[in-house]
Protein backbone atom coordinates (compact mmCIF):
# COMPACT_ATOMS: atom_id res chain seq x y z
CA UNK A 1 0.00 0.00 0.00
CA UNK A 2 2.71 2.52 -0.95
CA UNK A 3 -0.11 4.86 -2.04
CA UNK A 4 -1.41 5.06 1.55
CA UNK A 5 2.02 5.50 3.10
CA UNK A 6 2.83 8.29 0.60
CA UNK A 7 -0.44 10.02 1.56
CA UNK A 8 0.30 9.70 5.29
CA UNK A 9 3.74 11.21 4.72
CA UNK A 10 2.20 14.39 3.33
CA UNK A 11 -0.10 14.79 6.35
CA UNK A 12 2.40 16.47 8.71
CA UNK A 13 3.76 18.62 5.90
CA UNK A 14 0.36 20.07 5.08
CA UNK A 15 -0.53 20.52 8.75
CA UNK A 16 2.73 22.41 9.27
CA UNK A 17 1.85 24.60 6.26
CA UNK A 18 -1.60 25.30 7.67
CA UNK A 19 -0.17 26.14 11.11
CA UNK A 20 2.26 28.68 9.63
CA UNK A 21 -0.45 30.20 7.41
CA UNK A 22 -2.92 30.68 10.27
CA UNK A 23 -0.23 31.88 12.69
CA UNK A 24 0.93 34.60 10.32
CA UNK A 25 -2.40 35.76 8.83
CA UNK A 26 -4.17 36.17 12.20
CA UNK A 27 -1.31 38.37 13.40
CA UNK A 28 -1.38 40.46 10.23
CA UNK A 29 -4.90 41.56 11.07
CA UNK A 30 -4.79 44.94 12.87
CA UNK A 31 -6.02 45.05 16.46
CA UNK A 32 -5.14 42.44 19.11
CA UNK A 33 -6.66 40.76 22.15
CA UNK A 34 -6.30 43.99 24.16
CA UNK A 35 -8.33 46.15 21.77
CA UNK A 36 -10.75 43.23 21.42
CA UNK A 37 -11.35 43.15 25.18
CA UNK A 38 -11.26 46.84 26.07
CA UNK A 39 -12.36 48.45 22.82
CA UNK A 40 -11.80 52.23 22.82
CA UNK A 41 -11.17 52.13 26.61
CA UNK A 42 -7.83 50.52 25.79
CA UNK A 43 -6.68 54.10 25.16
CA UNK A 44 -6.86 54.71 28.92
CA UNK A 45 -4.16 52.14 29.65
CA UNK A 46 -0.76 53.33 30.75
CA UNK A 47 2.23 51.67 29.01
CA UNK A 48 2.88 49.55 32.11
CA UNK A 49 -0.75 48.37 32.15
CA UNK A 50 -0.54 47.56 28.42
CA UNK A 51 2.62 45.47 28.89
CA UNK A 52 0.97 43.60 31.81
CA UNK A 53 -2.00 42.74 29.56
CA UNK A 54 0.29 41.77 26.66
CA UNK A 55 2.06 39.38 29.06
CA UNK A 56 -1.29 37.96 30.20
CA UNK A 57 -2.31 37.36 26.56
CA UNK A 58 1.14 36.01 25.67
CA UNK A 59 1.50 38.40 22.75
CA UNK A 60 4.51 40.26 24.15
CA UNK A 61 7.11 37.75 22.85
CA UNK A 62 8.67 38.03 19.37
CA UNK A 63 6.59 36.14 16.79
CA UNK A 64 9.08 33.31 16.25
CA UNK A 65 9.27 32.53 19.97
CA UNK A 66 5.49 32.54 20.21
CA UNK A 67 5.26 30.13 17.21
CA UNK A 68 7.93 27.80 18.52
CA UNK A 69 6.41 27.61 21.99
CA UNK A 70 2.94 26.99 20.54
CA UNK A 71 4.21 24.33 18.09
CA UNK A 72 6.06 22.51 20.90
CA UNK A 73 2.75 22.46 22.78
CA UNK A 74 0.87 21.11 19.76
CA UNK A 75 3.18 18.11 19.58
CA UNK A 76 2.12 17.17 23.12
CA UNK A 77 -1.52 17.66 22.16
CA UNK A 78 -1.75 20.92 24.12
CA UNK A 79 -3.17 23.57 21.77
CA UNK A 80 -2.73 26.31 24.38
CA UNK A 81 -5.21 28.18 26.57
CA UNK A 82 -8.11 30.16 25.09
CA UNK A 83 -8.12 33.69 26.48
CA UNK A 84 -11.87 34.26 26.07
CA UNK A 85 -12.80 30.87 27.66
CA UNK A 86 -9.99 30.69 30.20
CA UNK A 87 -9.83 26.95 29.35
CA UNK A 88 -7.63 24.69 27.17
CA UNK A 89 -8.43 25.21 23.50
CA UNK A 90 -8.88 21.50 22.76
CA UNK A 91 -11.58 21.20 25.44
CA UNK A 92 -13.52 24.15 24.00
CA UNK A 93 -13.29 22.75 20.46
CA UNK A 94 -14.44 19.27 21.50
CA UNK A 95 -17.46 20.85 23.23
CA UNK A 96 -18.51 22.67 20.06
CA UNK A 97 -17.60 19.90 17.56
CA UNK A 98 -20.56 17.50 18.16
CA UNK A 99 -23.01 20.09 16.79
CA UNK A 100 -20.97 20.69 13.63
CA UNK A 101 -20.44 16.94 13.20
CA UNK A 102 -24.16 16.21 13.52
CA UNK A 103 -25.04 19.10 11.18
CA UNK A 104 -22.54 17.81 8.60
CA UNK A 105 -23.87 14.24 8.86
CA UNK A 106 -27.50 15.33 8.61
CA UNK A 107 -26.79 17.63 5.66
CA UNK A 108 -25.02 14.79 3.88
CA UNK A 109 -27.98 12.47 4.50
CA UNK A 110 -30.39 15.09 3.14
CA UNK A 111 -28.09 15.58 0.15
CA UNK A 112 -27.74 11.86 -0.62
CA UNK A 113 -31.42 11.03 0.02
CA UNK A 114 -32.56 13.84 -2.30
CA UNK A 115 -29.63 14.15 -4.69
CA UNK A 116 -28.89 10.54 -5.59
CA UNK A 117 -32.41 9.41 -6.57
CA UNK A 118 -32.99 12.70 -8.43
CA UNK A 119 -29.70 12.25 -10.31
CA UNK A 120 -30.44 8.64 -11.23
CA UNK A 121 -34.00 9.57 -12.23
CA UNK A 122 -32.74 12.42 -14.45
CA UNK A 123 -30.11 10.18 -16.08
CA UNK A 124 -32.63 7.50 -17.01
CA UNK A 125 -34.94 10.09 -18.59
CA UNK A 126 -32.10 11.85 -20.38
CA UNK A 127 -32.95 14.91 -22.46
CA UNK A 128 -36.68 14.60 -21.81
CA UNK A 129 -38.45 17.53 -20.17
CA UNK A 130 -38.52 15.82 -16.76
CA UNK A 131 -34.71 15.53 -16.92
CA UNK A 132 -34.38 19.29 -17.45
CA UNK A 133 -37.05 19.89 -14.77
CA UNK A 134 -35.17 17.89 -12.12
CA UNK A 135 -31.89 19.56 -13.04
CA UNK A 136 -33.34 23.08 -12.74
CA UNK A 137 -35.02 22.11 -9.42
CA UNK A 138 -31.63 20.86 -8.19
CA UNK A 139 -29.84 23.90 -9.54
CA UNK A 140 -32.15 26.32 -7.72
CA UNK A 141 -30.91 24.71 -4.53
CA UNK A 142 -27.34 25.37 -5.55
CA UNK A 143 -28.03 28.91 -6.75
CA UNK A 144 -29.31 30.48 -3.55
CA UNK A 145 -26.85 31.58 -0.88
CA UNK A 146 -27.58 29.33 2.11
CA UNK A 147 -27.94 32.28 4.48
CA UNK A 148 -30.78 33.65 2.33
CA UNK A 149 -32.51 30.26 2.46
CA UNK A 150 -32.04 30.28 6.24
CA UNK A 151 -33.45 33.80 6.65
CA UNK A 152 -36.48 32.99 4.52
CA UNK A 153 -37.20 29.75 6.43
CA UNK A 154 -37.02 31.49 9.82
CA UNK A 155 -39.18 34.39 8.65
CA UNK A 156 -41.75 32.10 7.00
CA UNK A 157 -42.02 29.75 9.99
CA UNK A 158 -42.09 32.38 12.73
CA UNK A 159 -44.42 34.86 10.97
CA UNK A 160 -46.50 32.23 9.16
CA UNK A 161 -46.81 29.27 11.53
CA UNK A 162 -45.65 30.84 14.79
CA UNK A 163 -43.19 28.00 15.29
CA UNK A 164 -39.43 28.13 15.24
CA UNK A 165 -36.53 25.75 15.54
CA UNK A 166 -35.01 25.70 19.00
CA UNK A 167 -32.19 28.22 19.11
CA UNK A 168 -29.15 29.14 21.19
CA UNK A 169 -28.14 26.14 23.30
CA UNK A 170 -27.29 22.76 21.75
CA UNK A 171 -28.91 19.68 23.30
CA UNK A 172 -27.02 16.53 22.21
CA UNK A 173 -29.16 13.96 20.38
CA UNK A 174 -28.97 11.32 23.11
CA UNK A 175 -30.11 13.66 25.84
CA UNK A 176 -33.30 14.91 24.22
CA UNK A 177 -33.78 13.64 20.64
CA UNK A 178 -36.96 15.65 19.94
CA UNK A 179 -35.47 18.97 21.05
CA UNK A 180 -32.22 18.16 19.25
CA UNK A 181 -34.03 17.37 16.00
CA UNK A 182 -36.19 20.46 16.44
CA UNK A 183 -32.98 22.48 16.47
CA UNK A 184 -31.05 20.64 13.75
CA UNK A 185 -33.55 19.59 11.07
CA UNK A 186 -34.00 23.01 9.48
CA UNK A 187 -30.32 24.04 9.37
CA UNK A 188 -29.57 20.57 7.96
CA UNK A 189 -32.13 21.14 5.21
CA UNK A 190 -30.74 24.63 4.53
CA UNK A 191 -27.21 23.23 4.11
CA UNK A 192 -28.28 19.93 2.60
CA UNK A 193 -30.30 21.56 -0.17
CA UNK A 194 -27.29 23.13 -1.92
CA UNK A 195 -25.26 19.98 -1.27
CA UNK A 196 -28.11 17.90 -2.80
CA UNK A 197 -27.96 19.99 -5.96
CA UNK A 198 -24.31 19.14 -6.57
CA UNK A 199 -24.92 15.46 -5.75
CA UNK A 200 -27.77 15.44 -8.30
CA UNK A 201 -25.54 16.88 -11.01
CA UNK A 202 -22.60 14.59 -10.30
CA UNK A 203 -24.70 11.40 -10.06
CA UNK A 204 -26.59 12.35 -13.25
CA UNK A 205 -23.43 12.83 -15.34
CA UNK A 206 -21.80 9.74 -13.76
CA UNK A 207 -24.86 7.61 -14.56
CA UNK A 208 -24.93 8.90 -18.14
CA UNK A 209 -21.26 7.95 -18.55
CA UNK A 210 -21.73 4.51 -17.03
CA UNK A 211 -24.90 3.69 -18.99
CA UNK A 212 -22.93 4.14 -22.24
CA UNK A 213 -20.17 1.71 -21.09
CA UNK A 214 -19.67 -1.73 -22.68
CA UNK A 215 -20.35 -3.83 -19.58
CA UNK A 216 -23.85 -2.38 -19.31
CA UNK A 217 -24.47 -3.67 -22.85
CA UNK A 218 -23.09 -7.06 -21.76
CA UNK A 219 -25.45 -7.13 -18.78
CA UNK A 220 -28.38 -6.42 -21.09
CA UNK A 221 -27.22 -9.18 -23.44
CA UNK A 222 -27.47 -11.55 -20.48
CA UNK A 223 -31.16 -10.66 -20.19
CA UNK A 224 -30.88 -8.36 -17.17
CA UNK A 225 -33.97 -6.11 -16.78
CA UNK A 226 -33.70 -2.32 -17.09
CA UNK A 227 -34.02 -1.87 -13.31
CA UNK A 228 -31.42 -4.48 -12.38
CA UNK A 229 -29.03 -2.99 -14.94
CA UNK A 230 -29.35 0.36 -13.15
CA UNK A 231 -29.20 -0.84 -9.54
CA UNK A 232 -26.81 -3.84 -9.84
CA UNK A 233 -24.42 -2.70 -12.58
CA UNK A 234 -24.62 1.03 -13.24
CA UNK A 235 -25.05 2.47 -9.73
CA UNK A 236 -21.99 0.80 -8.08
CA UNK A 237 -19.81 2.36 -10.78
CA UNK A 238 -21.60 5.70 -10.73
CA UNK A 239 -21.19 5.87 -6.94
CA UNK A 240 -17.44 6.37 -7.21
CA UNK A 241 -17.50 10.06 -8.29
CA UNK A 242 -20.43 10.67 -5.93
CA UNK A 243 -18.43 9.29 -2.99
CA UNK A 244 -15.51 11.56 -3.91
CA UNK A 245 -17.68 14.67 -4.15
CA UNK A 246 -19.63 14.03 -0.95
CA UNK A 247 -16.40 13.20 0.84
CA UNK A 248 -14.78 16.51 -0.08
CA UNK A 249 -18.01 18.44 0.63
CA UNK A 250 -18.34 16.65 4.02
CA UNK A 251 -14.76 17.71 4.76
CA UNK A 252 -15.78 21.33 4.14
CA UNK A 253 -18.92 21.02 6.30
CA UNK A 254 -16.76 19.77 9.20
CA UNK A 255 -15.20 23.20 9.13
CA UNK A 256 -18.54 24.52 10.32
CA UNK A 257 -21.03 26.46 8.21
CA UNK A 258 -20.31 29.93 9.55
CA UNK A 259 -23.28 31.71 8.00
CA UNK A 260 -25.95 29.10 8.73
CA UNK A 261 -24.71 28.76 12.32
CA UNK A 262 -24.97 32.54 12.61
CA UNK A 263 -28.58 32.64 11.46
CA UNK A 264 -29.86 29.62 13.38
CA UNK A 265 -27.79 30.69 16.41
CA UNK A 266 -26.09 27.28 16.56
CA UNK A 267 -22.95 27.28 18.77
CA UNK A 268 -20.95 25.24 16.26
CA UNK A 269 -17.32 25.20 15.20
CA UNK A 270 -17.90 27.79 12.47
CA UNK A 271 -19.11 30.46 14.89
CA UNK A 272 -16.48 29.47 17.42
CA UNK A 273 -13.73 30.29 14.93
CA UNK A 274 -15.43 33.44 13.69
CA UNK A 275 -15.90 34.81 17.24
CA UNK A 276 -12.32 33.78 18.09
CA UNK A 277 -11.08 35.82 15.12
CA UNK A 278 -13.23 38.83 16.06
CA UNK A 279 -11.95 38.61 19.65
CA UNK A 280 -8.34 38.00 18.47
CA UNK A 281 -8.13 34.87 20.64
CA UNK A 282 -5.01 33.69 18.77
CA UNK A 283 -4.63 30.32 20.53
CA UNK A 284 -8.29 29.45 19.89
CA UNK A 285 -8.14 30.52 16.22
CA UNK A 286 -4.98 28.48 15.65
CA UNK A 287 -6.39 25.48 17.48
CA UNK A 288 -9.68 25.56 15.55
CA UNK A 289 -8.06 25.94 12.13
CA UNK A 290 -5.63 23.09 12.85
CA UNK A 291 -8.53 20.91 14.03
CA UNK A 292 -10.61 21.72 10.93
CA UNK A 293 -7.65 21.13 8.58
CA UNK A 294 -6.91 17.82 10.33
CA UNK A 295 -10.53 16.68 9.87
CA UNK A 296 -10.46 17.74 6.22
CA UNK A 297 -7.31 15.70 5.56
CA UNK A 298 -8.67 12.65 7.41
CA UNK A 299 -11.94 12.79 5.47
CA UNK A 300 -10.03 13.09 2.18
CA UNK A 301 -7.96 10.07 3.12
CA UNK A 302 -11.13 8.11 3.96
CA UNK A 303 -12.57 9.15 0.58
CA UNK A 304 -9.46 7.74 -1.15
CA UNK A 305 -9.77 4.50 0.81
CA UNK A 306 -13.47 4.30 -0.03
CA UNK A 307 -12.49 4.94 -3.65
CA UNK A 308 -10.11 1.95 -3.53
CA UNK A 309 -12.72 -0.20 -1.78
CA UNK A 310 -15.33 0.64 -4.40
CA UNK A 311 -13.06 0.29 -7.43
CA UNK A 312 -10.80 -2.81 -7.52
CA UNK A 313 -8.74 -1.23 -10.30
CA UNK A 314 -7.34 1.22 -7.75
CA UNK A 315 -6.99 -1.33 -4.95
CA UNK A 316 -5.08 -3.87 -7.05
CA UNK A 317 -3.00 -1.36 -8.95
CA UNK A 318 -3.54 -0.38 -12.55
CA UNK A 319 -4.57 -2.84 -15.26
CA UNK A 320 -4.16 -6.66 -15.60
Amino acid sequence: MSYLTRRLLTFPLVMLGVSILVFVTIRMVPGDAITAMLGTEAGLLTPAQRDALAGYFGIDQPILVQYWRWLAGVFQGDLGISVTYGRPVLGVILERFPLTLQLALMSMCVALLVGLPAGVFAATRNEKMSDLGVRIFAMIGQSTPNFVVGLLIIYALSAGFGILPVMGEFTPFFEDPLRNLGQMILPAITLGFAFAASVTRISRSAMLDVLSDDYVRTARSKGASKRSVIWRHALPNALIPVVTLSGVEFGYLLGGAVLVEQIYALPGLGRLVLDAILQRDYALVQGCVLFIAFNFMVVNLLVDLAYAALDPRIRLGEGG
Partner: protein
Amino acid sequence: MSMLRAIFSHASGRIGGTIVVVYIIIALLGMFDITPHNPLQQFRIDRLHAPNATYWMGTDLFGRDVASRLMKGIGQSFLVGFCAVALATTAGTVLGLTAAWFGRAWDGLVMRVMDVLLAFPAILLALLIIAAAGPGTWTSVAAIAIVYTPIFTRVVRGPALSIKSREFVDAARTFGSSRRYILTRHLLLNLVAPLTVQVTLALAWSLLTEAGLSFLGLGTQPPASSLGLMLADSRNLMETAPWLLIFPALAIMISILGFNLLGDALRDILDPKTRSRPA
Protein backbone atom coordinates in the same frame (compact mmCIF):
# COMPACT_ATOMS: atom_id res chain seq x y z
CA MET B 1 -19.13 31.27 -34.22
CA SER B 2 -20.00 27.58 -34.18
CA MET B 3 -19.68 27.52 -30.37
CA LEU B 4 -22.58 29.97 -29.93
CA ARG B 5 -24.79 27.97 -32.27
CA ALA B 6 -23.89 24.80 -30.35
CA ILE B 7 -24.71 26.42 -27.00
CA PHE B 8 -28.06 27.75 -28.13
CA SER B 9 -29.05 24.42 -29.64
CA HIS B 10 -28.43 22.66 -26.32
CA ALA B 11 -31.48 22.47 -24.02
CA SER B 12 -30.00 23.98 -20.87
CA GLY B 13 -27.53 25.99 -22.89
CA ARG B 14 -30.39 27.96 -24.42
CA ILE B 15 -31.76 29.01 -21.04
CA GLY B 16 -28.39 29.48 -19.37
CA GLY B 17 -26.98 31.38 -22.34
CA THR B 18 -29.85 33.87 -22.52
CA ILE B 19 -29.72 34.50 -18.77
CA VAL B 20 -25.98 35.18 -18.83
CA VAL B 21 -26.25 37.43 -21.88
CA VAL B 22 -29.07 39.44 -20.30
CA TYR B 23 -27.06 39.81 -17.08
CA ILE B 24 -23.97 40.96 -18.94
CA ILE B 25 -26.03 43.61 -20.74
CA ILE B 26 -27.48 44.77 -17.41
CA ALA B 27 -24.02 44.76 -15.83
CA LEU B 28 -22.64 46.91 -18.66
CA LEU B 29 -25.59 49.32 -18.41
CA GLY B 30 -24.97 49.49 -14.66
CA MET B 31 -21.27 50.19 -15.12
CA PHE B 32 -21.90 53.08 -17.54
CA ASP B 33 -24.61 54.46 -15.23
CA ILE B 34 -27.41 54.02 -17.76
CA THR B 35 -29.99 53.33 -15.03
CA PRO B 36 -33.54 54.61 -14.33
CA HIS B 37 -32.23 56.75 -11.41
CA ASN B 38 -28.78 57.66 -10.10
CA PRO B 39 -28.00 54.62 -7.92
CA LEU B 40 -26.21 56.74 -5.31
CA GLN B 41 -28.69 59.59 -5.10
CA GLN B 42 -30.66 59.57 -1.87
CA PHE B 43 -34.27 60.80 -2.28
CA ARG B 44 -34.70 60.68 1.49
CA ILE B 45 -38.32 61.84 1.42
CA ASP B 46 -39.13 58.65 -0.60
CA ARG B 47 -37.51 56.36 2.00
CA LEU B 48 -38.65 52.69 2.05
CA HIS B 49 -41.33 53.04 -0.67
CA ALA B 50 -42.78 49.79 -2.02
CA PRO B 51 -42.30 49.12 -5.77
CA ASN B 52 -44.34 51.69 -7.73
CA ALA B 53 -44.38 53.49 -11.08
CA THR B 54 -41.34 55.69 -10.46
CA TYR B 55 -39.30 53.19 -8.46
CA TRP B 56 -39.88 49.83 -10.21
CA MET B 57 -38.34 47.85 -7.38
CA GLY B 58 -39.05 50.28 -4.53
CA THR B 59 -36.52 52.34 -2.53
CA ASP B 60 -34.12 51.47 0.31
CA LEU B 61 -33.47 52.99 3.75
CA PHE B 62 -31.90 56.11 2.15
CA GLY B 63 -34.54 56.51 -0.57
CA ARG B 64 -32.21 55.19 -3.28
CA ASP B 65 -33.83 53.40 -6.24
CA VAL B 66 -33.41 49.64 -5.71
CA ALA B 67 -33.65 48.88 -9.46
CA SER B 68 -30.71 51.16 -10.29
CA ARG B 69 -28.70 49.85 -7.36
CA LEU B 70 -29.46 46.30 -8.51
CA MET B 71 -28.12 47.06 -12.00
CA LYS B 72 -25.02 48.67 -10.49
CA GLY B 73 -24.83 45.77 -7.99
CA ILE B 74 -24.87 43.18 -10.75
CA GLY B 75 -22.07 45.12 -12.46
CA GLN B 76 -20.06 45.16 -9.22
CA SER B 77 -20.67 41.48 -8.36
CA PHE B 78 -19.81 40.40 -11.91
CA LEU B 79 -16.69 42.59 -11.87
CA VAL B 80 -15.53 40.96 -8.62
CA GLY B 81 -16.54 37.54 -9.93
CA PHE B 82 -14.87 37.84 -13.34
CA CYS B 83 -11.64 39.34 -12.02
CA ALA B 84 -11.33 36.79 -9.19
CA VAL B 85 -12.03 33.87 -11.53
CA ALA B 86 -9.68 35.25 -14.21
CA LEU B 87 -6.92 35.58 -11.60
CA ALA B 88 -7.56 32.11 -10.21
CA THR B 89 -7.70 30.60 -13.70
CA THR B 90 -4.37 32.07 -14.77
CA ALA B 91 -2.64 31.14 -11.53
CA GLY B 92 -4.26 27.71 -11.50
CA THR B 93 -3.38 27.02 -15.13
CA VAL B 94 0.27 28.03 -14.76
CA LEU B 95 0.68 26.02 -11.54
CA GLY B 96 -1.32 23.03 -12.81
CA LEU B 97 0.48 22.87 -16.14
CA THR B 98 3.98 23.18 -14.74
CA ALA B 99 3.18 20.69 -11.97
CA ALA B 100 1.89 18.18 -14.54
CA TRP B 101 4.82 18.74 -16.91
CA PHE B 102 7.80 18.83 -14.56
CA GLY B 103 6.41 16.36 -12.04
CA ARG B 104 8.17 15.03 -8.94
CA ALA B 105 9.73 17.80 -6.85
CA TRP B 106 7.88 20.79 -8.27
CA ASP B 107 4.66 18.81 -8.57
CA GLY B 108 4.98 17.70 -4.95
CA LEU B 109 5.62 21.25 -3.72
CA VAL B 110 2.77 22.81 -5.72
CA MET B 111 0.26 20.16 -4.69
CA ARG B 112 1.26 20.37 -1.00
CA VAL B 113 0.81 24.16 -1.02
CA MET B 114 -2.55 23.68 -2.72
CA ASP B 115 -3.50 21.11 -0.07
CA VAL B 116 -2.69 23.68 2.61
CA LEU B 117 -4.92 26.29 0.97
CA LEU B 118 -7.70 23.69 0.45
CA ALA B 119 -7.48 22.36 3.99
CA PHE B 120 -7.80 25.91 5.33
CA PRO B 121 -11.53 26.71 5.77
CA ALA B 122 -12.32 28.83 2.68
CA ILE B 123 -14.49 31.60 4.17
CA LEU B 124 -12.10 32.08 7.11
CA LEU B 125 -9.12 32.39 4.79
CA ALA B 126 -11.00 35.04 2.78
CA LEU B 127 -12.03 36.77 6.02
CA LEU B 128 -8.46 36.90 7.35
CA ILE B 129 -7.08 38.19 4.04
CA ILE B 130 -9.73 40.94 3.83
CA ALA B 131 -9.43 41.90 7.50
CA ALA B 132 -5.64 42.16 7.13
CA ALA B 133 -5.65 44.04 3.81
CA GLY B 134 -8.73 46.15 4.55
CA PRO B 135 -12.08 45.57 2.81
CA GLY B 136 -12.79 46.81 -0.71
CA THR B 137 -13.46 45.51 -4.21
CA TRP B 138 -9.88 44.53 -4.98
CA THR B 139 -9.20 42.79 -1.67
CA SER B 140 -12.41 40.79 -2.20
CA VAL B 141 -11.13 39.85 -5.66
CA ALA B 142 -7.76 38.79 -4.19
CA ALA B 143 -9.39 36.82 -1.37
CA ILE B 144 -11.76 34.92 -3.68
CA ALA B 145 -8.93 34.32 -6.19
CA ILE B 146 -6.68 32.83 -3.47
CA VAL B 147 -9.49 30.53 -2.30
CA TYR B 148 -10.18 29.27 -5.85
CA THR B 149 -6.63 28.90 -7.15
CA PRO B 150 -6.15 25.41 -5.63
CA ILE B 151 -9.39 24.21 -7.23
CA PHE B 152 -8.26 25.45 -10.65
CA THR B 153 -4.80 23.99 -10.19
CA ARG B 154 -6.34 20.56 -9.68
CA VAL B 155 -8.78 21.01 -12.58
CA VAL B 156 -5.83 21.78 -14.88
CA ARG B 157 -3.32 19.25 -13.50
CA GLY B 158 -5.56 16.18 -13.95
CA PRO B 159 -6.30 16.51 -17.69
CA ALA B 160 -2.79 17.92 -18.34
CA LEU B 161 -1.30 14.66 -17.01
CA SER B 162 -3.50 12.59 -19.31
CA ILE B 163 -2.82 14.79 -22.39
CA LYS B 164 0.90 14.66 -21.67
CA SER B 165 0.80 10.89 -22.32
CA ARG B 166 -1.18 11.28 -25.58
CA GLU B 167 0.62 10.32 -28.81
CA PHE B 168 0.63 13.77 -30.42
CA VAL B 169 2.77 14.96 -27.51
CA ASP B 170 5.15 12.02 -28.10
CA ALA B 171 5.21 13.03 -31.77
CA ALA B 172 6.09 16.61 -30.78
CA ARG B 173 8.90 15.27 -28.60
CA THR B 174 10.37 13.30 -31.50
CA PHE B 175 10.60 16.52 -33.59
CA GLY B 176 12.32 18.14 -30.62
CA SER B 177 9.65 20.83 -30.21
CA SER B 178 10.59 23.25 -27.41
CA ARG B 179 9.02 22.75 -23.98
CA ARG B 180 7.28 26.12 -24.25
CA TYR B 181 5.78 25.13 -27.63
CA ILE B 182 4.46 21.83 -26.30
CA LEU B 183 3.05 23.40 -23.11
CA THR B 184 1.21 26.18 -24.92
CA ARG B 185 0.15 24.64 -28.24
CA HIS B 186 -0.47 21.04 -27.22
CA LEU B 187 -1.37 20.98 -23.54
CA LEU B 188 -2.96 24.39 -23.02
CA LEU B 189 -5.11 24.35 -26.17
CA ASN B 190 -6.54 20.98 -25.22
CA LEU B 191 -7.31 22.16 -21.69
CA VAL B 192 -9.74 24.73 -23.03
CA ALA B 193 -12.65 22.28 -22.62
CA PRO B 194 -12.35 21.39 -18.92
CA LEU B 195 -11.30 24.97 -18.11
CA THR B 196 -14.30 26.68 -19.73
CA VAL B 197 -16.66 24.40 -17.83
CA GLN B 198 -14.85 25.10 -14.56
CA VAL B 199 -14.82 28.87 -15.23
CA THR B 200 -18.60 29.04 -15.60
CA LEU B 201 -19.10 27.04 -12.38
CA ALA B 202 -16.50 29.16 -10.55
CA LEU B 203 -18.33 32.35 -11.61
CA ALA B 204 -21.46 30.98 -9.91
CA TRP B 205 -19.48 30.11 -6.74
CA SER B 206 -17.79 33.51 -6.64
CA LEU B 207 -21.19 35.24 -6.55
CA LEU B 208 -22.11 33.06 -3.56
CA THR B 209 -18.81 33.75 -1.80
CA GLU B 210 -19.06 37.51 -2.44
CA ALA B 211 -22.55 37.42 -0.95
CA GLY B 212 -21.22 35.49 2.07
CA LEU B 213 -18.40 37.98 2.62
CA SER B 214 -20.79 40.94 2.37
CA PHE B 215 -23.07 39.22 4.91
CA LEU B 216 -20.09 39.28 7.30
CA GLY B 217 -19.53 42.95 6.38
CA LEU B 218 -16.28 42.29 4.50
CA GLY B 219 -17.36 42.60 0.89
CA THR B 220 -18.02 45.67 -1.24
CA GLN B 221 -17.80 49.06 0.52
CA PRO B 222 -20.89 51.32 0.79
CA PRO B 223 -22.26 53.39 -0.81
CA ALA B 224 -21.40 51.14 -3.77
CA SER B 225 -23.76 48.19 -4.05
CA SER B 226 -23.18 44.54 -4.82
CA LEU B 227 -25.78 41.78 -4.78
CA GLY B 228 -24.30 40.42 -1.55
CA LEU B 229 -24.25 43.80 0.19
CA MET B 230 -27.85 44.58 -0.77
CA LEU B 231 -28.86 41.17 0.64
CA ALA B 232 -26.92 41.72 3.85
CA ASP B 233 -28.35 45.23 4.38
CA SER B 234 -31.92 43.97 3.82
CA ARG B 235 -31.58 41.46 6.66
CA ASN B 236 -33.08 43.58 9.44
CA LEU B 237 -35.60 45.28 7.14
CA MET B 238 -36.98 41.94 5.98
CA GLU B 239 -40.40 42.53 7.54
CA THR B 240 -40.88 46.23 6.92
CA ALA B 241 -39.46 46.23 3.37
CA PRO B 242 -39.47 42.65 1.95
CA TRP B 243 -38.70 43.93 -1.57
CA LEU B 244 -35.21 44.85 -0.37
CA LEU B 245 -34.54 41.12 0.18
CA ILE B 246 -36.61 39.57 -2.63
CA PHE B 247 -35.14 41.39 -5.65
CA PRO B 248 -31.42 40.90 -4.82
CA ALA B 249 -32.12 37.26 -3.79
CA LEU B 250 -33.88 36.60 -7.11
CA ALA B 251 -31.09 38.39 -8.98
CA ILE B 252 -28.41 36.20 -7.37
CA MET B 253 -30.43 33.01 -7.79
CA ILE B 254 -31.18 33.54 -11.47
CA SER B 255 -27.64 34.62 -12.34
CA ILE B 256 -26.12 31.56 -10.63
CA LEU B 257 -28.76 29.37 -12.27
CA GLY B 258 -27.71 30.86 -15.60
CA PHE B 259 -24.04 30.11 -15.00
CA ASN B 260 -24.74 26.55 -13.83
CA LEU B 261 -26.93 25.80 -16.85
CA LEU B 262 -24.32 27.30 -19.17
CA GLY B 263 -21.62 25.22 -17.45
CA ASP B 264 -23.68 22.06 -17.96
CA ALA B 265 -24.24 22.87 -21.64
CA LEU B 266 -20.55 23.58 -22.18
CA ARG B 267 -19.62 20.30 -20.51
CA ASP B 268 -21.91 18.39 -22.87
CA ILE B 269 -20.74 20.35 -25.94
CA LEU B 270 -17.00 20.38 -25.23
CA ASP B 271 -16.43 17.03 -23.61
CA PRO B 272 -18.16 14.53 -25.92
CA LYS B 273 -16.01 15.62 -28.81
CA THR B 274 -12.81 14.53 -27.09
CA ARG B 275 -14.42 11.62 -25.27
CA SER B 276 -16.44 9.98 -28.05
CA ARG B 277 -13.53 9.56 -30.50
CA PRO B 278 -11.66 6.28 -29.76
CA ALA B 279 -8.53 7.91 -28.30
